[in-house]
């Protein structure tokens, strides 16, 4: 791989999260380095999605902090996270169902919109130029993901695999520095999975985007990630490069051995 793994850009320290009395995450710490692909694995209900939700501020942990490029966040919120260059996809595809593919991806450009409401209402000068410039950017994403043929289709009508791709497209349109992927390949057939893998690697490779990913498919995870965190019942039970994790006995008994 040509890219160079850099310094730690995201550091989670002693994060604990509970809903009511139920503990979702207990005292978890791990870090993410620039340009790497970091995977989070674990059995169902291990707290993987909660982990991503903590990173980009959808959930607020009761304890712990997030350090992003040296800045401490005791409380992250999704908007702040987005501003800081974190974007993500969702496990159950949270696309905007009433909008077309193009519009969905265009929403990813939202933080970069500068003109105000009045100019937009008039479709005038700067607003128009800006809109077209962003459209051009979005077309690049569309080309990259090879979804040109469906750009005008309402996303609600697309098959699952394509929706996942659009979801990724929307996240990419933000030009993120860190990309969180929540089970990007769940429910896909082998071919689709291959495509998706290719996109992930290409993103990482071409744009140098740091990727944090949750995935069930062990083969894929071990293939593409640089380092892996293993969670079980909200606790961290393993952390390291794929080989190290694979040979970690605790992980083996909790997860791999369980016959997933």
């Amino acid at each position: 791989m040509s890219r160079e793994i850099g310094e730690v850009i995201l550091d989670l320290k002693n994060v604990s999260l509970a809903f009511g009395g139920v503990k979702a995450l207990t005292d978890i710490s791990f870090d993410v380095r620039e340009h790497e692909i970091r995977a989070i694995i674990g059995p169902n209900g291990a707290g993987k999605s909660s982990m991503l939700n903590v990173i980009n501020g959808v959930y607020r942990p009761q304890q712990g902090e997030i350090v992003l490029r040296g800045r401490r966040f005791a409380r992250m919120n999704p908007y702040k996270a987005a501003q800081a260059g974190i974007s993500r996809t969702f496990q159950n595809i949270a696309l905007f169902k009433g909008m077309s593919v193009i519009d969905n991806i265009m929403t990813g450009r939202n933080l970069k919109i500068r003109t105000n409401l009045l100019l937009q209402a008039l479709w005038w000068g700067p607003a128009r130029r800006e809109e077209l410039a962003h459209r051009a950017k979005v077309e690049e994403v569309i080309d990259f993901l090879e979804i040109q043929h469906i750009r005008k289709t309402p996303v609600g009508r697309l098959p699952y695999g394509l929706q996942k791709r659009v979801d990724l497209g929307r996240a990419l349109a933000m030009e993120p520095s860190i990309l969180l992927l929540d089970e990007p390949m769940a429910g896909m057939n082998v071919e689709e999975k291959q495509d998706m893998c290719r996109f992930i690697l290409d993103v990482n490779d071409q744009f140098g985007t740091t990727i944090v990913l949750i995935e069930h498919d062990m083969g894929v995870v071990m293939d593409i990630s640089d380092r892996v965190v293993v969670l079980d019942y909200g606790k961290k039970i393993g952390d390291g490069d794929p080989d190290a994790v694979r040979s970690n006995p605790e992980v083996v008994s909790a997860y791999l051995g369980a016959g997933h």
């Binding site: 809903f19 999605s49 939700n53 959808v58 969702f90 496990q91 159950n92 949270a94």
Partner: protein, 309 residues
């Protein structure tokens, strides 16, 4: 002090009736997710039917007994409300399964129009009287304790009593009967209920029937107090803050909410109204509900909403 107590009691009495209308809302919302704006029209329709049947039926059958006439009229009106519930399920709800809340809400408004039009064209648009022998004149009590005594309206008292009994009966119905349990199951989870073999359509008919009976009782009480007239349909708007305050899915919430709103609006009108011009009770109750919502978005007893991603 005596006056404060009187206002308080007046508020509680009014609140009890709001609870009754709110209960109709909650029942239907719980079981079918429909925010039933036609509840007010149902109250009107039921009351109109009751008022007219009480005159017509004794006429047809040649009965001279007022009590018997009223009972027959009540039964007939109840039967009519059952028919209405069945027709609504058949012609409207069944075709609107899985639609969005706003669409359903509009559909119930459509139902409200139909019921209003139908009710007034069948039964007439005059003011009609329901005379179930409620005492009209007030009594004074506790004249020793409070200066000038406490004025208690017997009619309100009886009305509140009837409302309380109905609420009690409904609670029993929900807790003790199998139909009641099925209703609660449906309220908790439509699909789960369906998968264990509870027929949704039938449940809907039943719950609309129950709401119809609640509307009938509310209509009889209000009608006997104020006369049965088109304006009864507007009680729905008075009961909305109640359901919001109490939570859309909570029966105890509807009852407690009704009492809070009743007391709140009467106290505000009497003590605050004169300083800012009066006529504030209707918006005051909405503001009360609104302020409350800002602290508890799901209402007093509503289920907490958790976002899942």
């Amino acid at each position: 002090m005596g006056f404060f107590v009187e206002t308080l009691i007046g508020g509680l009495m009014a609140g009890m009736l709001y609870s009754l209308v709110a209960l109709g809302f909650v029942l239907i919302f719980k079981a079918s997710g429909v925010f039933n704006f036609a509840q007010g029209a149902m109250v009107l329709f039921a009351a109109l039917a009751m008022a007219r049947f009480a005159v017509w039926i004794p006429g047809w059958l040649g009965i001279d007994n007022a009590l018997l006439g009223n009972i027959l009229a009540f039964l007939a009106a109840g039967g009519l409300m059952f028919a209405v519930a069945w027709v609504i399920e058949r012609l409207v709800l069944r075709h609107l399964v899985n639609q969005e809340g706003a669409t359903l809400l509009m559909a119930t408004l459509g139902i409200a129009y139909i019921l209003e039009g139908l009710g007034t064209s069948i039964f007439g648009s005059d003011i009609y009287k329901i005379d179930i022998g409620m005492p009209k004149d007030p009594v004074m009590i506790l004249e020793g304790t409070f200066e000038g005594g406490l004025l208690i309206n017997k009619e309100d008292f009886v009305a509140a009593l009837i409302a309380a009994v109905l609420v009690g009966l409904l609670t029993l119905f929900f807790q003790k009967t199998s139909t009641g349990r099925a209703l609660r199951a449906v309220a908790d989870d439509h699909q789960a209920a369906q998968s264990i073999g509870i027929p949704l359509n039938r449940i809907w008919v039943i719950v609309w029937c129950v709401a119809g009976v609640v509307a009938l009782v509310a209509g009889v009480i209000w009608g006997s107090k104020l006369g049965v007239q088109f304006s009864l349909a507007t009680v729905a708007l008075r009961a909305l803050p109640v359901v919001i305050l109490g939570g859309l899915t909570s029966v105890p919430g509807a009852i407690l909410g009704g009492l809070i709103i009743g007391v709140g609006e009467k106290l505000s009108e009497v003590y605050l109204g004169p300083h800012i011009g009066g006529g504030i009770e209707i918006w005051f109750s909405y503001q009360l509900a609104l302020v409350f919502l800002l602290f508890r978005p799901q209402g007093l007893f509503g289920e907490k909403i958790i976002d899942r991603v």
